[in-house]
Symmetry: C2
Subunit: 462 residues, 2 copies
């Protein structure tokens, strides 16, 4: 007999009613009286446990009673609908077999554990309700992203993870090396990278955008979805050294096309997850962020706002008294301002566009005012910036000017400049931090709790 | 007027027949006579070019005639079905507009270029037929993998890229560091990693399997799909320092379940790509690997074979005269043997199982003979090994014994061992090198030509 996934039982219990089924999974809780007992069994395919009832007619009744929490078992029995009980159905066991007995030191006993403690047992926390829900949502959100872009004919591109260019992340990049650090060969007192694996200094990517532009100028519509890295020594609830990014890039497209794509994508992914992770999302709405559904439905149902940075600053300036960091034209917008705009002024997601060139990257397209660039940030209620993007500078002379002004080294960027010589039509794109999205979807407050094995300063366990 | 994707025109030309359409794209070729001309336009959404006919009634006819190859243009015109011509339809231009003029030094002129040369212009090669086809197949194959696992309820897990454990790849791992290599602080003559970002020595992952096991023992069925790394100094057509791997891991599952999953997946992905990249696959079948369709259809239509390593060696030994490397029990199977088995003996894909423990990894489950482990390699005609996997050793005492025998450091692996204490039920999994799969699907012979920006010894360009 083959086991049925618990997910399938919950999807159509009627189909299995009064039939013999087999399930396999791990004991979440077990309790017993003299002549019978209950097991809450979870097989990982569904958020909810299946309730197994066992009675003293089982040949191994006395042993089963003592099965430790966390053990893996198989259960054969009859599925009985229980319309009057809390759970939809239960399985009346005719056979229970131990598959892998857990030691009694198993940390996930019934009591609640703090998120901080659970981080120290990241090899076990996916077995808790909270993390099972987080990582299922993470998985479904990733699928939704692939599905969204695939339906629109976008090409999924894999930019390199190891890169010799540091145009974007100078100073915040991890170095990748095969040198023996205990015995580095030097040349004029400096590390001799010609001896290294790649024959030069190499880093972990901070963004796949520049290479995504290559693909957009061949395939028109492309996206990346892969890990990116920052060696930033900041121990906050929003920073990790390793995180996943989605970076679409579209050709024959301007900032408006870019905003439309971002709006469509955000709505698609939220809708997909709410439909396909109902139980998990209800869990988050009830226990992690009250009002989560209202927040997310508001995003799905709104037409996103748009406001020019200059206009946004005018509005914010009137409220400078309320901010820790007062704004004026030219300053970057902080989270407090982002939230004020999206929550208080717009009451929905809003794109802020056309930022001063000084606070944005070299590749963003210069506007006609020669002061601002065609950038866009998507601010959402509850979190602030979710997406950052821009139209790219496709004019070679303008690009080179900005590279010079910002001290970007051109040598490794010959190909990026050459793209502008050979049919480098207008194009645009944006980046979405995947973990930021998962935090938004679930209400989880710390990035360490939406990454399976977070990497942060002094922490690379597991 | 909004541009229509060329893909949509080819999908249903009848829908657009005799209607005005707008297309945008890049000029692949242009030729002209006195009073008219032809442009082969490619917009990246489809393998085939759309033929644009322009005549001297265009106000800018004399300019258009001189538009350089590689330029981005927009075209308005009427779509005319041309059932008697080589192409299904053409667009009779009423307006052609330059969007981004290419310089005349554009390297992708009509003549054929070698694959070796095209590698040096990886920023432009996706615009050639061959690489447009390769990278579209790559994108579709990636989607097929996500779709396959999603349909079966598998959780997509993200194991860490940066890892402090080196259980699998000692000696072949890239180091990740934020130390200043020019001025490394030492402790007793050795690099002081307590000063490094993670407070200890860290590497790039060679496999996400060990962490995938964590997820499988929570969610039952999971898979990973992400980049992995080897600092192996081998300059072959099959090795890259950075490549993507798919690693499913299934709990309550043994080697037979594992083989079934691998067989289902391989067939699914091949079928999906053949259905969804018809034009590209025809291109490969005609110009890259004659007989590609026969090879792939044979995989789809066959029930994969199974043979024990010991039996395979018996067969191979009889043919030792034909091999560069004669085999005997205990030796690893080389590509020549793999191909002999799958091509000559089975004539279809075949799983070889139960290898000697000495030539396999520490985590593979010991068989009762105490000499072999529950490993499986999938060998396919034309390439040899495509997939390698195993049932995992779930018995803690046996695992520790193997770790000791093979000198695996236990300190960083406490969590891996602990999984065996807490409901560590039987489980299995395998790894599929994504680039190996793309080579197999397309017939491309060098791994450098199926990765957008390959990383190999002395090469990290772009």
């Amino acid at each position: 007999m083959k086991a049925t996934d618990v997910r399938d039982l919950f999807k159509s219990p009627g189909k299995y009613s009064d039939k013999e089924v087999m399930v396999e999974g791990w004991i979440r809780t077990i309790r017993d009286s003299k002549n019978f007992g209950f097991i809450e069994l979870n097989d990982g395919t569904f958020m909810k446990n299946v309730q197994v009832v066992f009675e003293n007619n089982l040949s191994n009744f006395d042993e089963v009673k003592k099965y430790p929490t966390g053990s893996a078992i198989t259960v054969k029995g009859n599925l009985l609908l229980t319309p009057e009980a809390k759970q939809l159905f239960e399985i009346k066991a005719t056979e229970i077999k131990m598959e892998a007995e857990s030691e009694s030191s198993y940390p996930l006993q019934k009591k609640r554990h703090s998120l901080e403690y659970l981080r120290t047992i990241a090899h076990l926390r996916p077995r808790t309700n909270t993390f099972a829900a987080v990582f299922r949502v993470r998985s479904l959100a990733a699928y939704a992203i692939h599905k969204f872009f695939n339906e629109r004919g976008f090409i999924y591109a894999h930019p390199p993870i190891i890169t010799a260019s540091d145009a974007e992340g100078a100073g915040e990049m991890f170095r990748v090396t095969a040198l023996d650090l205990d015995n580095i060969e030097k040349l004029d007192g400096k590390t001799d990278y010609t001896k290294d694996f790649f024959g030069k200094s190499a880093n972990l990517t901070v963004s796949g955008q520049l290479e995504a532009e290559i693909f957009a100028l061949a395939f028109k519509n492309v996206y990346t979805f892969g890990p990116t890295f920052r060696a930033e020594n900041s121990n906050t609830s929003r920073h990790a050294a390793e995180f996943w990014m989605i970076e679409p890039e579209i050709a024959f497209a301007d900032l408006n096309d870019n905003m439309q794509l971002a709006e469509d994508m955000v709505k698609y992914v939220i809708s997909y997850v709410m439909e396909n992770a109902k139980e998990e999302m209800e869990f988050f709405n009830s226990f992690v962020e009250k009002g989560l559904f209202d927040k997310l439905n508001n995003v799905i149902d709104s037409e996103f706002g748009k406001i020019d940075y200059t206009d946004a600053i005018e509005i914010l300036k009137k409220n400078n008294d309320n901010f820790d960091y007062p704004v004026q034209w030219g300053t970057d917008i902080q989270t407090e301002h982002e939230r004020y705009l999206s929550e208080k002024i717009f009451g929905k997601p809003v794109f802020v566009t056309n930022y001063p060139k000084e606070i944005k990257a070299f590749y963003m397209r210069m506007n006609e005012d020669n002061k601002t660039v065609a950038a866009m940030d998507l601010l959402v209620p509850g979190i602030g910036e979710l997406i950052g993007g821009s139209q790219r500078e496709e004019r070679l002379d303008m690009l080179e000017k900005r590279m010079d002004e910002m001290g970007i080294e051109k040598e490794g960027m010959w190909w990026y400049m050459e793209l502008r010589k050979y049919g480098g039509v207008k194009h645009a794109g944006y980046g979405l931090g995947f973990e930021r999205l998962i935090m938004y979807l679930t209400g989880m407050g710390n990035i360490r709790d939406v990454i399976p094995f977070p990497r942060t300063p002094k922490n690379a366990e597991f």
